[in-house]
Assembly symmetry: C2
Homo-oligomer: 598 residues x 2
């Protein structure tokens, strides 16, 4: 049975030594959350994920969800009990507004817990995760009355939330949505239509489910400008805010999927269900985007979580499995063979995963702190810069962390040989579960287009210029730092490639937009590699400082960081020049073929 | 439901226009197999794969195999009928020796049919595939008597074969094998032990199963030098060569796997089962290697097959699915949206897969023709050179075609978005089935070590030097060919990187073998990219010649080839410099960490 240990020490290193957590103390919610308290909270969350969620992970995979003839859905054995514990301990509302029953703690803490949950049990974690997404949309777009009713129920976890976007004929292109909303004259609407791939659409964890549903009000304009967002509860709240009459929204069937079997992926049928407008008429996509950005960051974190748990289990196997001898002579001479961790190709695999994971975690937390700054800071310039960063990094984190997270799960599975392919060892589940993260909340090709087509040019390139400046300044400021200097050459080469690619788009994609589309995925990964490399440079600097101080507390920990930073620069960073080559090849060859010549 | 169309036109182009099939006419078996006959045979095989095997593929995935309380295994509905048809039509024995009931046709033809079968139904294709592997070992190492009895039964398909290597504690390191063989004084042995991951170990397709089993004769030396290979039939043949008494070898359980559900992966228990030595005592690994090399080529072909069928189904979806508009204005103005094949990122995905597939097919057929030359030619020098090529390319084909084949199946799945993740569309099965090909018959890390540690240095580097010479000569000879010239720059850059990497190993890995291990996987892929690029250069040359002739028969076909060749050089070939960078980074960083610092 696979196991999981949450990387609390690593997180505390990032918060305290690398990302300047304490300097955020003036933001609301941070003053109370001292580093010691943060560590205590995380340790508590870690224990729950390790001891309750991780053991339930293979259980959920095997059992899956079941639907009875009346459309009721039962989650795997143990899911409901785990949810009750989680809910009672207030985890869902960790970062939600205190006004509606939340704890008001930094979003950053929630992101950390999301990683732990996603690693321990991705399918389970989606239930509270979707509630948090729905709550985010309500917090921004809901009326005071809607917030008082729905947001507080989501915060307490008594009710859960969903996102209803996709229809059978459209997922990416939401302008094609057909679901209809007919005004009833009393402020409510009757919603009709079919939604597919609705995660947590129906289940037995909560007494009510709050569906956020995109639909078109009768007579609304065609396309994306005629779509509105509705709150459609499974049970209509009565006068006391308790679940009342059953609303005609139901689960028509459960999808049979490659993975995340413990999460109920539903076809949802709306048969004149009562709903209320959330936000403005015809501005539904706008309102949904709030939820989607939160969700995209969370999905990136899921990719990291699966990569981390796959790493841990591959590592345990590599230390344990005796097979063959080291190329430089026996390392376990008393045994019949050496543990496979002596082999360079095994170490290459492990370090490729680990150096990704640790930098990805840094990128997530850096961005989560920006999210807190953007939402909570009084300093308008700081908040704006943080918001720029968020917008820029959201597609990078979603796209790169899930693409690489999946690849890493596959690489970790490979280390177990045939044992990786059978379900007994759990590695197959990590691969099958991780696979969805590349697809949902905007397939990664869409993330790449969002980055290149929207985030780069926005505000005259302000966000990307700020990032280039920051990395460039770091390179200049640290040129004389002995411990970090060897990393700066590869880092600078990577940044140069990224800047050249950006310039190439400016020169070639304005007139020929296909040139942007043809290079978008490579650009997203190029960006990710540079951002992750920058995280390693900063981690190495922090570790070098800790070692130089003579009071690091754990020299081994910091020495390892310096080695990992070097590994990243040697093995991951050179990818940037490949990406640049491909981007510079442009669209001509691929667009030159007729569709029927494919 | 996914569909499949075997690429017969493409194969005939490769045989006739690119690889000089007709120049092999002097080899036994080729004289009868004129190009017209080959095309007729392939079309027949294609039809069977398209119409019988492909529709059974999702059926087998869903139903899987079942084992009753007595260890009998039932294959999915329809598998047995398909096997009967296939067997009766003589496909299993296509390239087997006529003396034992085979048709004696070129191995090359068999490799082509293997691709079609692997694409249409990988799990099903493994049953006859394993029989062919067992037959190959018998053909080389069996006594005349063993061949007359077992090989002819395998050729007719009345009996099937298996390979029994892996035990619970060892897969890669076969020196650790514990299964025992006790001589009975009558030429037979009693075999005892447990084998795991035995594909087609037990099933209902044939009246008997011939297990080839590695075991250690009592008192044999420790390690790999004490292992022998045994023939252990499920039913002991009686005097007439009919299945007689039940041998105590049985399926203890079926593995629950990520994919290839239609194939029975068995734990096999040998409880004093009667067996006979195949080949020499204590030379079992040697005998098994014959089977393994055949099997490794076949597994590489499986990777290609899954990549091809995944491509075809992603392409169909890309033409059909309406979503969004082209970046350069509507291409389907009367529809609500354009088909997604208008988007550059979709084309990039499709062409990355297709340019791999077509070159991989060329590499397989080039190598299959070398296999025929090596086994059938009277010209000793030609046979030796062909054998060198085979040895060198076997790990490249196995490792690269399965690594990339899997990646391609994932990329194809991605194009369907959420529809790719649910089982209904069949893309998930391609991914789950393709995944095993990276693992079995020697995990790909082992292929890379075989290439770098064994195949490169063998005979003073004769094989690799011959390959470098051939590609270098092609570059020189075609420098003036207008249609091919634009490909030669990237091709030369790739070859240079490969030669530099080879030189780097010579200079750095002799004294420090970890440097070879640290770069082995990157080297295997670097080698693969150059070999595939060379295939594109040759295909482009052939297509340019066909176009120049004014009588190509299908100008569109050849023009597309030229575009695809350019695409490969633009997008795949630049990978070589990344691989070289990583190889040159060496082992120091990764070996510098203690195992417990991971």
């Amino acid at each position: 049975m696979p196991s999981y240990k949450a990387p609390v020490q690593d997180v505390m290193f990032l918060l305290n030594d690398v990302l300047g957590y304490e300097s955020h103390g003036n933001l609301p919610g941070f003053a109370d959350a001292t580093p010691d308290l943060v560590e205590a909270i995380l340790s508590e969350g870690a224990r729950f994920c390790e001891e309750v969620l991780a053991p339930l992970n293979p259980v959920g995979d095997r059992a899956g969800c079941t639907r009875d003839g009346e459309g009721n859905v039962t989650t795997p054995k143990g899911f409901k009990e785990a949810y009750e514990t989680y809910r009672e301990n207030g985890w869902i509302a960790l970062s939600m507004p205190e006004e509606f029953g939340g704890q008001g703690l930094p979003t950053t803490l929630n992101s950390i817990i999301q990683e732990f949950m996603s690693a321990a049990n991705l399918a389970w974690g989606m239930y509270p995760g979707l509630s948090q997404g729905a709550a985010a949309a309500l917090a921004v777009h809901g009326s005071q009355e809607q917030k008082a009713l729905y947001l507080s129920k989501l915060a307490s976890g008594e009710w859960s939330g969903t996102m209803n976007l996709t229809e059978p004929h459209c997922g990416t292109d939401l302008g094609l949505i057909k679901s209809k909303a007919v005004p009833q004259g009393d402020g409510s609407y009757k919603i009709s239509g079919q939604k597919i791939f609705i995660s947590a659409g129906e289940h037995d964890l909560t007494e009510n489910i709050v569906h956020l549903v995109l639909a078109r009000i009768e007579g609304a304009p065609e396309g994306t400008k005629g779509i509105s967002l509705f709150i459609v509860p499974k049970f209509l709240p009565d006068g006391d805010g308790k679940p009342g009459a059953r609303n005609p929204v139901s689960c028509g069937s459960l999808e049979e999927k490659m993975g995340i079997h413990g999460n109920a992926t539903c076809v949802m049928n709306y048969d004149g269900a009562t709903g209320w407008l959330l936000g403005e008429e015809n501005r539904g996509l706008n309102a949904m985007f709030v939820m989607m950005n939160e969700a995209r960051l969370a999905v990136g974190i899921q990719g990291l979580g699966q990569s981390e748990v796959a790493y841990q289990n591959a590592l345990a196997y590599a230390r344990d499995r005796l097979q063959g001898r080291s190329l430089t002579g026996p390392k376990n001479p008393d045994g019949k063979a050496d543990p496979i961790i002596v082999h360079p190709d095994v170490r290459r695999t492990l370090l490729s995963i680990r150096t990704f994971n640790e930098a990805a975690r840094a990128l997530v937390l850096w961005t989560a702190l920006k999210s807190d700054t953007s939402h909570r800071s009084d300093d308008k310039a700081a908040a704006q810069a943080a918001d720029d960063h968020m917008g820029l990094m959201t597609p990078v984190i979603k796209g790169v962390l899930t693409d690489k997270g999946f690849d890493n799960a596959v690489a970790a599975q490979q280390m177990l040989g045939g044992h990786g392919y059978i379900e007994e060892w759990g590695m197959s589940q990590f691969v099958r579960d991780a696979r969805i993260t590349m697809i949902y909340e905007g397939a990664n090709g869409i993330q790449a287009l969002d980055l290149v087509g929207r985030k780069l040019p926005r505000d005259g390139g302000r966000a990307v210029m700020a990032f280039f400046n920051e990395v460039g300044t770091f390179l200049k400021d640290n040129a004389g730092e002995e411990a970090v200097a060897p990393l700066l050459g590869p880092m600078k080469a990577g940044l140069d490639d990224l800047q050249k690619a950006t310039m190439w788009f400016m020169n070639n994609a304005m007139a020929e937009p296909d040139n942007a589309g043809a290079g978008s995925t490579d650009y997203m990964h190029l960006f990710g590699t540079v951002a992750l490399g920058y995280m390693w440079a900063r981690m190495a600097k922090a570790s070098a400082a800790a070692l130089a101080s003579g009071a690091s507390g754990d020299d081994r920990f910091h020495e390892t960081k310096l080695t990992l930073a070097r590994y990243f620069m040697e093995r991951h960073m050179p990818e940037t020049s490949l990406r640049l080559s491909r981007i510079s090849a442009g669209a001509e060859t691929m667009m030159g073929l007729d569709a029927d010549a494919f």
